[in-house]
Symmetry: C2
Subunit: 210 residues, 2 copies
DNA sequence: CGCCGCTAACTGACCGGTCAGTAAGCTCGG
DNA sequence: CCGAGCTTACTGACCGGTCAGTTAGCGGCG
């Protein structure tokens, strides 16, 4: 029953992972309140009651989605920091990783926390983790500014701009579209970093194919 | 009875403008489906039934909010194009105008069109206008690229990045916060334009007071 | 001036549909 | 033959929408 279990011997499979991915996609499309559990169940090819075998309730489903999304983001930052020391490259990789996660893994960021959707305790937990994520992001930017790789800026506002551009992606992205998640990630990350880079060092924007 | 009338001689005032502004704020906070008409009515200091005296139904309320938001955006573009010929400055002013509108006038962009919230006809209409807005925005960027003021880029993706950063603002902005709508507008517009500008021409990011 | 009739603006109670959540039973694989 | 993994069938609450009624002000008629 523990989280870590995907005992994969299911009759036709309803792993926690699949449930969360599908739920995230539906929540993103219809909005949390607009989506019914029947919608999620139908997308998974089961009935609503089956969902209740795996999750406690609708709110917990959203909660788990949020945790996964933030975990993807934090993991991206950690990897970026491990792979390079240059703040601009760190930021680029961190953003790209988050975007790839949102487009390919968990479809739909869901961090679109409407008020009153999560229970107070869950809200506090998610907010704390999300704040941690934002703080890390701002930290990278601040170091970039200190090293004069980035121009001085309002960390909070620029951070919100980055987050906004990325969190908006699930609203229009489709895996069937002309751009893959990776391509979107590259273009977005390059553009978002470029707006911060000190003059003269910023590379062009195009990524991959012309 | 026509739309253009706000013949305001109401007992205590429930103008179309006030209703839309408050509805936008509530919809933005709770999400369209998460917000009840009682919420909106309470915020206006009346009962739900009073709302129905002024609007046909909940969906129409959202529809009107969307129209106002897009109108603000399009008006911003028109003014920007009338005021200056330089694509980068045009873009900067257009974005700033939209942001100011979203923060000060209509509080909450609401263009966060979740699927199935608007009727097919209303959806078509809003989508058409929104597409028009996006097309105009891309047009400015395209001209900037042609004049080598902007670096070459994927117009569609960059457009989405701009829109995302801006549409996210209502999620965190508060008029009681440390930054006014105008300040947010200036910083965002400067940052978002800067990411496109050809090297060497981009100015710094800080705007207004430190 | 005064008060009569009208309407614009609003209230409170209510109905019906929808949806989160539950209960109880069926069905395989081991 | 047991129980994990599901189903069908249901309940209760909540919310969009309606409607009969109330209140406030305005315009006109005597």
């Amino acid at each position: 029953m523990r989280t870590g279990e995907q005992r994969a011997r299911p009759r036709q499979g309803l792993s926690r992972e699949r449930i969360l991915a599908e739920a995230a996609r539906i929540f993103n499309r219809l909005g949390y309140h607009g989506a019914t559990l029947d919608d999620v169940a139908r997308a998974l090819g089961v009935t609503k009651a089956a969902l209740y075998y795996h999750v406690a309730n609708k709110e917990e489903l959203l909660f788990q989605c949020c945790k996964v999304a933030i975990a993807i983001g934090l993991e991206g930052i950690r990897r970026a920091q491990a792979e390079t020391a240059a703040p601009d490259e760190q930021l680029r990789r961190a953003l790209a990783a988050y975007i790839e996660g949102m487009t390919d893994q968990l479809r739909g960021s869901v961090v679109i926390l409407e008020e009153g959707t999560l229970s107070p305790e869950h809200y506090r937990e998610v907010k704390a983790e999300r704040d941690e994520y934002e703080r890390e992001l701002r930290g990278i930017i601040a170091r970039g500014v200190a090293q004069e790789v980035f121009v001085p800026c309002d960390l909070r506002l620029v951070g919100f701009a980055l987050l906004g551009a990325m969190n908006w992606i699930p609203k229009w992205y489709s895996p069937a579209g002309s751009r893959s998640g990776r391509e979107v990630a590259e273009v977005f990350a390059a553009y978002l970093v470029r707006g911060l880079q000190a003059s003269g060092r910023a590379p062009a924007l195009t990524a991959g194919a012309p």
